[in-house]
């Protein structure tokens, strides 16, 4: 196709830069039209629709890839690089710098609004639908790509996300009306990838813009008012002129099959229409969406395509690929899409869907329903996707600045910033084992439960006994789901006949809270629940000198093991809990946030002559491993039962009912091939996650490992997932022995001291 300007041979708009070369355009031209006017083909070949329905004019425009050049208004100095025909576009030069953080890119604004009805499409049908919808006073928003408001996705809500010249627009509505018209059917036959082919509507637009269509023939319905030679017969293939451009068209008599070749430089194809309903197909069954106008019309499918033809140009899927996938059992349209990837590309099936349906109809005897589409219908930039999106906020305890002042290396764990170590994890470990240390455990989940039915609720929720816990005492407990799998663990502390405090892991607290609330509400029990996780801080004072330190700070009477009481420590009101995760005497001091810094500093100050050090998670994980304590989520898996952890002792099957009991009773009668074991071996601890081997077979992995100074060897927890379970395994190329836990102080004398 030549680039002659039918008007006067001059440009009225300015100059683009296309593939590094200047190119004049007229005012009102799209980038694609400007290129055609100049004799350049947008994209690298294939039928042009100039309506945004296909991916045949993709280009990188001003650094943004996957732009449909037919939908972008040409502008002076605009930089356009056509995409390669058979590869992804290269990253722009600035991308590397941006990934390195050297380039700041502006974030598009996001405008959020609520409407009763959103109409997508501003054509005749869209305007009519908007007028009807607004009759009874409902608020109607019309999003029209023609005015630059291009909808990229329809999401549950429903929320419609559109790209606009001013940024992103998020509209939440109660009803969505899709009035996006119809797309022209693209030819699917050998040679369809050549340059020089346009749809009938595209031909009309080019003619109206003054772009010549030289030596044009028309196949199918010819475009009105466009000079061309209409051809009889059905399209068979396009003929390559040897340079990637069409040099002719082969048609066939529909009755006799006799083929005729017609030389030409432009082929205009008017092959019919298909619904432009990608946004409706994206909506999903729960979104109240309706389709009107041409987008809802029952358009005829094209004839089945030739076996050698490429049916989906976005993903390079041929008719032969459809046959192969169908032959392998993926005949249903949604499966066919997933097996071949037809329809998942740039145009989301806009071009290939009618052909895939036609092929499928020819196989099955009836046309299948269209397959679904997925956002985005237009390729948003990363900036547009990220606009106003925030990463998870990681919480800080009130001691965050204290940790930093003490030189802590902080890390994110369980949704919180926590000290990993303070520069010398081994010294922190020794402070716990030999003297006294403090750790910030403010992140633990903390619930208060109160009510006349609280004991009944907890007996149902937990697999251990609860009613026999006396006020002032506590008990370790697992939390199970209905399948008997371990969800979380923590302590049950009784304050009075009808009031308890529960603790949970830092990462599991939010889920546990929802779990408890849901069940209590379901059972209709009279229990109040208060989450104090972020209202209270907590410091763990641990080590053989912990009691001495607390006495110095006014706690004359420390609770005995598993006891708890309310008392002031350094003048700060605390709930003092005598527990132990470290294997040494340990007291958790739960207290109001605004007393936390004062309490921490008092502990550090009065413990200075005792050699006090704070400890971070690195030391804590080693300490707990020496005791063989599991960490739910680190040592456990989604289907871990108490039996697999060797923690049957935490489950009282004599209780008539608790969540998970039925499942444990059933699975308890079955053989089990998974078990968490303790392991020891000489030398340094292997990396956590290391495979555990028996002979040549990998039977599991190490979930926690620590080179124990006090034991002089490596201690580990790890899984064996093959039975019979071995007594000796190989880890990190060395022999490791299954060893009962706790590895350290198995009688628990030190924790009770």
């Amino acid at each position: 196709m030549s680039g002659a300007n039918l008007r006067d041979g001059t440009s009225s708009g300015g100059r683009l830069v296309v593939d590094g070369r200047p190119l004049a355009f007229d005012e009102g031209d799209s980038v694609a039209v400007a290129m055609l006017r100049a004799g350049e083909w947008p994209g690298r070949g294939g039928t042009l629709c100039l309506a945004g329905d296909c991916g045949n004019c993709l280009a990188t425009v001003d650094g943004v890839a996957y732009m449909r050049s037919c939908q972008v208004a040409a502008a002076p100095a605009m930089s356009v690089d056509r995409h390669p025909a058979d590869a992804m576009p290269p990253l722009p030069a600035w991308a590397d710098a941006q990934l390195d953080g050297d380039v700041a890119v502006g974030e598009p604004a996001v405008e959020r609004e609520v409407a009763d009805v959103v109409v997508i499409g501003g054509g005749r049908s869209g305007r009519a639908a908007a007028a009807t919808a607004s009759v009874d006073g409902r608020e109607v928003v019309v999003l029209d790509a023609g005015t630059g408001e291009e909808v990229v996705g329809v999401y549950p809500g429903p929320t419609i996300v559109a790209r606009t010249p001013a940024g992103m627009r998020h509209v939440t509505a109660t009803e969505v009306i899709v009035a996006t018209g119809a797309a022209e059917i693209q030819p699917v036959c050998p040679g369809a990838e050549l340059r020089g082919i346009v749809t009938a509507r595209a031909a009309q637009r080019l003619h109206a813009s003054g772009v010549a269509l030289p030596d044009a023939v028309a196949i199918g319905t010819p475009p009105e008012g466009v000079p061309c030679r209409p051809l009889d017969g059905v399209l068979v293939r396009f003929v390559d002129d040897g340079d990637g451009h069409i040099g002719g068209v082969v048609t066939a008599d529909p009755v006799t099959g006799v083929e005729t070749t017609t030389a030409c430089r432009t082929a205009i194809v008017g092959l019919g229409w298909s619904p432009r309903d990608v946004l409706a197909r994206m909506a999903g069954p729960t979104v109240p969406v309706s389709v009107v106008g041409s987008a809802a019309a029952d358009h005829a499918l094209p004839p089945p395509a030739d076996r050698a033809a490429i049916v989906c140009r976005c993903m390079g899927v041929s008719v032969a690929d459809l046959e192969e996938a169908s032959g392998a059992g993926y005949g249903e349209l949604e499966l066919l899409k997933r097996a071949t990837l037809a329809g998942i590309g740039t145009c989301q099936g806009g071009a290939c869907l009618p052909h895939v349906r036609a092929w499928s109809a020819a196989q099955a005897g009836k046309a299948p329903e269209p397959f679904t589409a997925r956002p985005a219908a237009r390729q948003p930039t990363l900036g547009e996707v990220a606009a106003d999106v925030t990463v998870d906020a990681f919480r800080r305890t009130p001691l965050h600045d204290e940790h930093l002042a003490l030189g802590a290396t902080m890390d994110r764990f369980g949704g919180w910033w926590r000290p990993w170590h303070y520069g010398d994890a081994m010294a922190e470990y020794r402070a716990v084992r030999e003297g006294v240390s403090i750790g910030d455990v403010s992140t633990l989940g903390k619930l208060v439960l109160s009510g006349p039915d609280v004991v009944e609720a907890l007996e149902r929720l937990y697999p251990c006994h609860v009613a026999d816990i006396k006020p002032g005492r506590s008990r370790y407990a697992l939390l199970l789901n209905e399948r008997g799998h371990v969800m979380d663990d923590g302590m049950i502390l009784r304050e009075s006949e009808t009031r308890f405090v529960l603790t949970f892991t830092s990462g599991g607290a939010a889920n546990a809270e929802m779990w408890l609330r849901d069940w209590i509400e379901t059972w209709g029990l009279r229990v109040h629940v208060l989450d104090q996780t972020m209202s209270l801080a907590a410091v763990n004072v641990t080590g053989p000198l912990a009691g001495e330190l607390l006495r110095r700070l006014g706690l004359d009477e420390t609770p005995r093991y598993l006891g708890h009481r309310r008392a002031a420590v350094a003048g700060v009101p605390c709930h003092v809990m005598r527990l132990s995760f470290t294997g040494e005497a340990a007291f958790e001091l739960h207290h109001p946030l605004d007393g936390s810094v004062e309490l921490w500093r008092a502990l550090m100050d009065r413990g200075a002559d005792l050699g006090i050090r704070p400890h971070g998670l690195q030391a804590l994980f080693g300490l707990r491993l020496e005791k063989g304590h599991v960490i739910v989520g680190m040592d456990t898996e989604l289907d871990t039962t108490p039996r697999r952890l060797g923690m049957d002792w935490a489950v009282r099957m004599e209780k008539p009912t608790f969540i998970g009991r039925a499942a444990l009773e059933r699975t308890g009668k079955l053989p089990d091939h998974r078990r968490l074991f303790g392991f020891t071996m000489d030398g340094l601890a292997p990396t956590e996650g290391s495979p555990i081997r028996v002979g040549d077979e990998i039977v599991g992995h190490v979930s926690g490992s620590w080179t124990s100074p006090v034991l002089g060897k490596a201690v580990m927890l790890g899984w064996q997932k093959r039975s019979p379970f071995a007594d000796r395994v190989e880890i990190d190329g060395r022999e490791a022995l299954v060893t009962s836990t706790p590895f350290y102080d198995p009688e628990g004398h030190r924790a009770r001291a």
Partner: protein
Amino acid sequence: MPALDGVTGLRVVADARAIDDARWVAAGGSDVTLLRIAPDEVIAIDAVAVELDDGHAIVVDERGLVAATCPIDDVRRRTEWPLTAEAEVSQGAVAGVPVKLVRLDADHVRIFTAAAYAHDLADRLGWPT
């Protein structure tokens, strides 16, 4: 520039009717601001005592919140839900951080969040951290 400061009060979980009929005692010279975050739960900012008709009510000091008063336009663009004049108290995420908002007048809101989130919220809104 708005700044998040610590606030104190009471947090109460009790029967809904008991909360409806509760009698609050405020800190000297201040009014109690009630954040009714659930039918059975309320945060009473600046309250120091309460009388309730529920023997099993949980009443605790609340010292884990921070708050700031700011122009509504400071948070409108980062709020997941439309800020309408009708909603006096609302809760959700602003800039991805869980908050509770109290509409003070047509142009201002008081924003509450857990102290654990204070740094992130201030940072994301461009306030002093």
